[in-house]
């Protein structure tokens, strides 16, 4: 079996929860916290921590707005995040093809 140097993989994405967050965000224009929580199937605290990491890396954009006079936080994937995800998937695909 081919061994792959995992250091080549993006550390930010190479975590199940963060990968799931990005995979969900790639399918939508933007999403609310509760939608992400349901899709990723994790706790509020855990999701917050991982979203913050993605935000700090510039992969996720956070927008706070008022909808129906209620404050809502909406998350979307930045171009940098999309690119990083594409590269990550490409690296995994290459590994399988080897």
């Amino acid at each position: 079996m081919n061994k792959f140097d995992y250091h080549q993989l993006d550390d930010i994405i190479h975590s199940r929860i963060r990968l799931a967050i990005i995979a969900v965000l790639i399918t939508v224009d933007d999403a609310e916290f509760n939608f992400l929580k349901e899709k990723v199937n994790t706790t509020d605290g855990n999701l917050s921590v991982h979203i913050r990491k993605l935000e700090e890396a510039g992969y996720v954009l956070v927008k706070k707005e008022f909808i129906d006079r209620k404050p809502k936080t909406v998350y979307s994937l930045s171009n940098k995040g999309k690119k990083a995800f594409e590269i990550y998937v490409e690296q995994l695909s290459k590994l399988i093809k080897k």
Partner: protein, 198 residues
């Protein structure tokens, strides 16, 4: 990392993407609203015909459809702000927009130019509604929504074979049982799920 782990990782990504893409959140209010205004339109037209108040009934339907589309445009904008725009969400929106435009043309333009008699509007629209519910059920992944189409299509056949005043009652009943009540069920489901999520 080895090939198996990479494959697992890719499968995990695919599963998440597929699940997210097909997510459709529908509060069902659109079905309820349109259903009610159509029933009101049918009832009003029926009463006017029975009372022998003759004028061009298309005016009633211009008002009804105008109200419906105004509601749909406003609601669509608000949904865009409130709900994640998944592929499923965009798909359901496209289905109902295209069917809605088709029904507006067939319901208003067709009879206005004398292409067919007014009594045939209901069965024609019933056929289209059956198709829309069938596709919607597939997108929602709800079998019972798909089955609603059978009711619409049977209703259409009956109204085609026996055109007449009773078409108003048949169409009104179809609206209540195959659109308004399902809309209420979808609304309750949506509220229940929203409660669980929050």
């Amino acid at each position: 990392m080895d090939e198996k782990t990479a494959l697992d990782e890719l499968q995990f990504i695919r599963k998440i993407i597929e699940d997210s893409k097909k997510t459709v959140l529908d509060d069902g209010i659109g079905y309820i609203f349109w259903g009610i205004i159509i029933v009101v339109g049918l009832f009003t037209t029926n009463i006017l015909i029975i009372s022998k108040v003759y004028f061009n009934y298309l005016w009633i339907w211009l008002i009804v459809i105008g109200i419906g589309w105004t509601y749909s445009i406003i609601s669509s904008r608000r949904k865009k702000e409130r709900l994640p725009r998944t592929f499923g969400q965009k798909l359901i929106h496209s289905v109902w927009i295209s069917i809605g435009i088709g029904m507006t043309l067939l319901g208003l333009v067709g009879p206005a130019v004398g292409a067919y008699k007014g009594f045939f509007i209901s069965p024609i629209l019933s056929v289209l509604l059956g198709s829309a519910f069938f596709i919607s059920g597939f997108i929602y992944d709800l079998k019972w929504v798909k089955l609603l189409s059978i009711g619409w299509w049977i209703g259409a056949v009956v109204m085609f074979i026996y055109p007449g005043m009773h078409s108003f009652i048949i169409m009104g009943s179809l609206m209540i049982f195959f659109q308004i009540i399902p809309g209420i069920i979808l609304y309750r489901k949506y509220k229940r799920e929203a409660k669980v999520q929050s």
